[in-house]
Symmetry: C2
């Protein structure tokens, strides 16, 4: 992996993206890193469609492995969330090589299933952060720049402000982490600051998922929970009567977990990068 020409491979283990997402992201990258310093390769699998998914399970597994196990790539960037990563976990984790352990991985939302499973297996260069599909958001170029600044330069400005050299961090979508609790893919997050965000879920579901997550014995050993943004919450019928922060505080209180305030993450253009584990000196 050469420092002078960083090669990023993009795959879509959940839902597909449109080719114009790749075009727009490559255009931004070319402007930010001219002189041939950065090569972003969108695996053709990103644009496939098989029901809900970007190609069937086998195709998505193979595409992921083609990037992850190839030493020419310095980083694997998740194209998009959507849904489908968890379907690959069992096979994928068995087939990742030692080469895969050396590169960086960046994604969030549904991608959290794979990041969790890899973290459980001791991968050290995993991070929650913006994905190519974020270019579709209004002002999405800022998210793409933030992700690239992290992948290419390791820029501190890309990081959520609670990320540090001294405390471990991890960040997840609430629903995705909930659906990993009690499985072999749940990583230990003891002594981590756990940042949680959500999108498009009813308040009663956010409440139920936080009951679930905070009831788990390993989660009860976290250093604290920070609540990211919970966007596009549909109207609850009847009115739920509590905000997402009240709900988070409630469950932290019940679980004896420190509630540490809001985290600067979410399904939006402001979504910051949160490495899994603590920062290390380069």
């Amino acid at each position: 992996m050469s420092k002078d020409r960083l090669k990023i491979g993009v795959v879509a283990p959940g839902s597909p993206i449109e080719p114009r997402v790749a075009d727009q992201v490559k255009e931004i990258a070319a402007k930010l890193y001219p002189d041939n310093g950065l090569d972003i390769h969108f695996h053709p699998q990103c644009f496939l469609s098989s029901g809900h998914f970007a190609g069937d399970d086998e195709i998505r597994i193979q595409a992921f492995l083609e990037i992850a196990n190839d030493e020419r790539f310095d980083a694997l960037w998740f194209a998009r969330g959507g849904y489908g990563s968890c379907r690959l976990l069992d096979t994928l984790l068995r087939e990742l090589s030692d080469i895969a352990r050396q590169k960086a991985y960046l994604g969030y939302s549904d991608a959290g299933s794979i990041l969790a499973g890899m973290y459980k297996q001791g991968f050290t260069r995993l991070a929650h952060g913006p994905m190519p599909v974020d270019i579709n958001r209004n002002g999405g170029a800022a998210a793409i720049k933030r992700a690239l600044a992290y992948l290419v330069e390791g820029a501190n400005e890309s990081l959520e402000s609670s990320v540090s050299f001294t405390t471990k961090t991890a960040a997840f979508n609430i629903s995705i982490l909930s659906q990993l609790i009690g499985t072999p893919f749940q990583p230990s997050l003891s002594d981590h600051i756990l940042m949680l965000e959500e999108t498009s879920e009813y308040m009663y579901r956010i409440d139920r998922s936080l009951f679930h997550i905070t009831s788990n014995p390993d989660i009860r050993g976290v250093a604290g929970i920070m609540l990211g943004r919970c966007g596009d919450i549909p109207p609850n019928d009847p009115e739920f009567g509590q905000t997402e922060e009240q709900v988070a505080q409630h469950w932290c209180h019940v679980a004896g977990i420190q509630y540490l305030g809001r985290a600067d993450i979410g399904h939006d253009t402001e979504n910051k990068v949160v490495p899994f584990g603590s920062l290390t000196v380069k």
Copy 2:
């Protein structure tokens, strides 16, 4: 607990019911069991409203305990699901007395959170089955009659046909069981036939929840999974491409769990009674 006058207490640990539900259910009961043989008491808490819930957490806990810990009641019937049972679990389970262990409990959907927690604690007379709120369904009287026949007479006709003296059974709503996995409230279901049903969830969520449930080590020890009805599935965008039964078969296959076919349970009037554990000779 006298055989000649059975007393059933109804509480609502999740969402509230309307008074006419109680009236209609009592009317049916009076016709079915005249001569003062059955007394159904709807705790006034059933009709309270506090945001999403039938009264706040403390009120719902107290109402539940007033029925469960009172030796005059032979059975506790969950009025309705909705959402909220999981919020009571931690306190409720600590305050249930030995008297509570002697009576029967019947409910499903959100009530599964409490049934699970009680089963984990060794309660022996728990069952999935119709609730008073089912009277709101078209033809709902049949569900009420089935529930009462089970509670009053222990009628075999009320039971799901796979229920037996030899094999343990349990039944859950998929989302509810998923949100208990990996918590102290998850009961061991090893060697049980596990029946699962769902309502109003997108196919991708059914798929994700079944990934979650079947990935859990204890669940992998079940005798088999039967799929109940999955009703009112909203249209998936894009078309998911697999039916709920294909998805259940897929995850059973991945997990090495026997898929045992369809179960006669669901959020509908045909919903049969499934006792937790095996039938015992009365």
